[in-house]
């Protein structure tokens, strides 16, 4: 974390630039949506742009680009469990995806 006043003033400028970039990426997301791409491609493009925006917020606004190893360690564990959380339910029903639910 910066404590030098000049470095903090530079950071404020970079926060403004990143904020502007986030707005541009939002506009791109909406514009791409109007093209009416095929659903798989639209999902891929939208999630890539959202991922880029998320990375900018986390690395610049949340200062993750220069944090202590304890925080990286905690986040690494979170990412591992988050991926498990996302895919475990899918794996459980992977053989029935696309088939109607029988009552």
């Amino acid at each position: 974390m910066h404590s030098d006043p000049e470095a903090i003033r530079k950071s404020i400028r970079s926060y403004g630039i990143v904020g502007g970039l986030l707005l541009v990426f939002t506009a791109i997301t909406v514009a791409v949506n109007r093209i009416h791409l095929a659903v798989p491609l639209a999902i891929t493009v939208a999630l890539i742009i959202a991922g880029m925006k998320g990375t900018m917020v986390a690395s610049i606004f949340m200062h993750l680009s220069h944090e202590k190893k304890w925080i990286y360690g905690a986040l690494l564990l979170t990412v591992v469990f988050f991926i498990v959380l996302l895919f475990l339910p899918l794996a459980a029903v992977s053989d029935t995806i696309g088939t109607p639910i029988q009552h």
Partner: protein, 194 residues
């Protein structure tokens, strides 16, 4: 009794306790929203068809812009406090509160429009997951507003007694706020566009 390591870093972690604490809290929040995103994926891939164009992209995009701007004002508030400019620091916190309130007002109009058409959570699987995800996110916005109002109001007295600790509190609130913004960055395309 004085609480240790509120400003100076702990020798073993190199972090003030509050910093590690807020990151562990955010890790638990990732799992909370992760479970709901997982549910969304499960419901969507299991559905024969999924509705498109049910939500107002215009309102969703406006709310995205509002939250991005609020993230900028929140991080600038912290930077101003680190430059010993309390007045501007507090002003930026209050601007963040106003932006958060505008977000909620937009959300109110959006909800009211759908409910008036009978499109509540009971209407369909899509609206059930839409209200669950955005409702939980909205509660996080309300929580952020409460904390920021405390920091700009009664909690601001700490600036006189311990400015470093006060700046740290604003930083931790900011980390929470950026996370709320981060969640919306994914909610917007997932619910409004895809």
């Amino acid at each position: 009794m004085e609480i240790p390591y509120t400003v100076e870093p702990r020798p073993d972690t190199g972090l003030a306790n509050g910093k590690l604490g807020i990151w562990l809290f955010l890790a638990s929040e990732v799992m909370l929203f992760g479970a709901l995103f997982s549910t969304y994926i499960l419901l969507r891939v299991g559905a024969i068809e999924w509705p498109h164009g049910e939500l107002s992209v215009k309102l969703g995009a406006i709310n995205t812009v509002i939250l991005i701007c609020s993230s900028v004002t929140m991080v600038v508030a912290w930077a101003k406090l680190k430059l010993n400019d309390f007045a501007k620091g507090r002003l930026y916190v209050l601007v963040t509160v106003v932006l958060a309130a505008v977000f909620l007002v937009n959300k109110y109009f959006e909800y009211a429009e759908h409910l008036a058409k009978g499109e509540g959570p009971w209407h369909s699987t899509f609206f059930a997951i839409y209200f669950t995800l955005t409702g939980l996110h909205g509660l996080h916005i309300v929580g952020g507003i409460v904390v920021m109002l405390y920091l700009a109001g009664p909690g601001a007295g700490m600036w006189k007694s311990n400015p470093e600790q006060y700046a740290n509190r604003v930083e931790y609130t900011g980390l929470y706020w950026h996370f709320v913004d981060l969640v919306w960055i994914f909610l917007f395309p997932v619910l409004y566009l895809l």
